[in-house]
């Protein structure tokens, strides 16, 4: 396309650092569930767009799992052409308002940006921030950039699970003219985007708006329909020409230590679901799902889920929130922005500690006992393995423990269909290759966390897209029409 090559008419903004984004101050935001970063104004977005030096190699594109044409949209934003920029992003990523907020940019597009030179105190282009701006801009201005829909093909596709993988596949396939129905086990669509990631990080209204957009395009959503229970996978396979499975990795892991079933011990999923999906933070005024008044909380884990749990707990007005992680800060798997925000919000990081027992009285939690750790030799993955310091223990008094150590694939669907090939050890669905995402069953594809195990929103979206492409060519070739 011509505009891609076009030289910017503006002078690059040579600022070394990203245009800062205003945020709610920590003291204030821990008292509410409103979003923390407040977004860019048009001027700020334009300035950040102009920071991208339009370098020749453009490594950022390959750094993005779905290959968004970053230099093109940064340039357009730099010119103040927001609507065009948005179109450019939407060619590859139909949820910019969401990815701009939750993508681990520092490990992806921004990591490889030519400008990213920490040794020279030079920061990469603020790709995520600009992307978020564009998504928000579209909503504020009601820019309904509905991609055009091709003529109806008469083919039907069932999408099982309405997380980012399923939503992306639905979006792509409806555009190709297929008849798309999404089945979701819960009463609201969105997967982890709805029940897991908290309001202060991803306002629900954004997600609802994106899903409404899909409904407007003709995607049908059937809620409260756990496939495998409400209907067998094989029956769905018969009713639809193709099936995409995007049921996620929603089975919470526990640690297997004594005391884990005491009252006051939650999986992160339960804790976040009660607060996010069921609105428990508004109990009892606006929600009927209770969440206990908590005083001292220990969150176990170091990923995004742990950060979300800790920051959610903080907003329920407790006296103290500990975050207990068995390695050091350098190994925290969470996005940098999340651990940074958590630290700002007075979360007490207790690193190099591994829980060994949850202590209780009368059936309820009163404390958590941890083994102190130190870093030993690097393991196969190159990370230094935490090893126990003999005889060194520490106990904290807490009344609530949130276990956020990861999750595995939910077996409700897979248990119902033994013919579907799984990775036996992990319980994930096996696909033939990542380009097609085809399973061993004739008209069944799968993608997202159910294939990879817990990963990221954008990887799930990428998988949904790849599967959609493969499904489309399957459906068209089957009907004798050559696929593009």
């Amino acid at each position: 396309m011509a505009d891609e090559k076009k030289k910017p008419t503006y002078k690059f903004n040579k600022s070394k650092t990203k245009t800062p984004m205003r945020e709610q101050p920590p003291e204030e935001r821990i008292k509410n569930f409103n979003e923390v970063p407040l977004g860019f104004t048009c001027e700020e977005a334009t300035a950040e767009g102009q920071r991208c030096i339009q370098c020749k190699k453009r490594p950022c594109i390959a750094g993005c799992p779905v290959g968004v044409d970053i230099p093109a949209f940064m340039n357009l934003v730099g010119e103040g052409l927001y609507e065009e920029a948005l179109r450019k992003v939407k060619e590859k990523n139909f949820l910019p308002a969401i990815c701009g907020r939750v993508c681990p940019q520092e490990d992806q597009c921004e990591l490889v940006c030519t400008m990213n030179k920490p040794e020279k105190n030079r920061e990469p282009g603020g790709v995520g921030r600009v992307e978020r701006f564009l998504g928000d801009y579209a909503m504020e201005h009601d820019l309904n950039i509905l991609p055009s829909k091709e003529a109806a093909t008469g083919k039907s596709v069932a999408i099982i699970g309405s997380g980012p993988a399923g939503l992306t596949a639905a979006s792509d396939l409806i555009q190709k003219g297929h008849d798309v129905t999404v089945f979701e086990a819960l009463h609201r669509p969105g997967g982890v985007l709805f029940y897991g990631i908290p309001e202060f990080r991803l306002p629900k209204k954004i997600l609802i708006k994106e899903i409404d957009g899909l409904k407007d395009m003709g995607v049908k959503f059937i809620m409260n329909y756990p496939v495998g229970k409400a209907e067998s996978l094989n029956s769905i396979r018969e009713r639809f020409d193709a099936v995409f499975i995007g049921v996620g990795a929603g089975l919470p892991w526990f640690m297997g230590i004594p005391g884990e079933n005491l009252n006051g011990v939650y999986s992160a999923n339960e804790f976040l679901t009660r607060v996010n999906l069921m609105g428990g933070y508004q109990f009892p005024e606006k929600s009927d799902t209770p969440i206990k008044k908590i005083k001292k909380v220990a969150v176990i884990g170091g990923g995004n889920v742990a950060m979300d749990s800790a920051r959610t707990a903080k907003r329920l007005d407790p006296d103290h929130v500990y975050l207990i992680y068995r390695r050091t800060k350098a190994e925290l798997p969470a996005r940098i922005e999340e651990s940074h925000h958590a630290a700002e919000e007075f979360i007490d990081f207790q690193l190099l500690h591994a829980p060994i027992e949850i202590i209780g009285e009368n059936g309820a939690v009163t404390g958590i006992k941890c083994q102190e750790m130190e870093l030993g030799e690097p393991d196969d993955s190159g990370r230094r393995r935490p090893v126990p310091i003999e005889g060194a223990y520490k106990t904290w008094e807490v009344d609530t423990v949130v276990v956020a150590i990861g999750q595995g694939p939910n077996p409700i669907l897979t248990a119902d269909c033994p013919e579907l090939d799984l990775n036996e050890r992990r319980g994930t669905i096996l696909v033939q290759d990542e380009l097609t995402m085809r399973t061993n069953l004739e008209n069944v594809w799968a993608g997202g966390d159910i294939v990879t195990g817990g990963a990221t929103v954008i990887l799930a979206m990428g998988a949904g897209r790849n599967a959609a492409t493969s499904i489309h060519s399957y459906l068209m070739s089957e009907s004798g029409v050559t696929a593009r």
Partner: protein, 292 residues
């Protein structure tokens, strides 16, 4: 899928039976499985057993006892109303012996609604079904006729002796054993304390006993772990691995403790609802007064 209520009947004080249009659940549901429903947009998700299904009509029947806010709103619904959200069938079906076995089904209180489909399935598979239904008092006994129709023998006990035999269901079990009745298997459902004692009663006689557990649930699809119970020293998710487990290996004390965790919050929620009701009633009264 409108989940429309097609029949509603008061069975006992605070206990309603609803027949609801839910074609796919009627088709796929089996004895021992449950549904999860929500009755209001900001409402809680609560599990209720599928008490009966009519595949031809495409309906399921549930029986709900009012114990808190959600069941109160539910029980105030009428024929023609729709249940906002209804998901199912969830959980594992009852393990029904292939036939020729003598099965003892024991229900207490609202648990009698769960005994109904279980006894039905046991009978349909060709087993001999002896059922014991317990209630505090005669007026609280539910589904007697329905359960009688699928039992070879029905024993009723009431705590106060107002109907059937006076005493607890465990006394009736002891009596059966004393009478030399051979029982291959027992299945029980009711208040946790009742199930605990049923299991204590059957254990010395070596009668395999399943208990249908009723822990607090949120999603009912294995996603949250709220429903975890300890069976044979291992943590199990009752919504996907249960709700029925070997009663002789179940930690009932833990279940009781976990069920009581939100007691204060639930009472508070109900109080608020009561307060709202009174306010509405007061406001209604005011408007009627000013109208007239």
């Amino acid at each position: 899928m409108a989940n429309r209520i097609v029949a509603a009947r008061l069975l006992a004080d605070k206990t309603m039976l609803f027949e609801i249009e839910a074609e796919h659940i009627a088709r796929r549901g089996k004895a021992g499985q449950f549904i999860i429903l929500r009755v209001a947009d900001d409402g809680e998700r609560i599990p209720l057993t599928i008490a009966h299904r009519d595949e031809a009509k495409g309906t399921i029947t549930i029986v709900a006892q009012e114990v808190g806010k959600t069941t109160r709103i539910l029980n105030a619904l009428k024929v023609g109303d729709e249940i906002l959200d209804l998901a199912g069938p969830l959980g594992k079906p009852t393990d029904v012996p292939a036939g020729d076995k003598t099965v003892l089904c024991v229900g207490g209180g609202i648990g009698n609604a769960v005994v109904w489909p279980m006894a039905t399935a046991m009978k349909a598979a060709g087993n001999k079904v002896i059922t014991i239904l317990g209630a505090r008092t005669k007026d609280l006994l539910i589904l007697e006729d329905e359960v009688r129709a699928v039992s070879d023998e029905l024993i009723i006990t009431t705590d106060d002796g107002s109907y059937g035999r006076e005493g607890l269901v465990t006394h009736a079990i002891d009596q059966l054993v004393a009478d030399g009745v051979h029982i291959d298997e027992c299945i029980c459902i009711g208040p946790v304390i009742m199930m605990k004692f049923v299991c204590k009663t059957t254990k010395p006689h070596g009668i395999k006993t399943l208990a249908s557990l009723n822990p607090i649930m949120v999603d009912g699809t294995g996603m949250c772990g709220a429903c975890r119970v300890t069976v044979d020293g291992k943590t199990r998710f009752a919504c996907v691995e249960g709700p029925e487990f070997d009663g002789h290996l179940t930690d009932f004390d833990e279940l009781m403790s976990r069920l009581s965790y939100y007691k204060n919050e639930e009472a508070h929620s109900l109080e608020m609802a009561d307060h709202d009701c009174k306010m509405i009633a007061a406001a209604d009264k005011l408007t009627t007064e000013t109208d007239s």
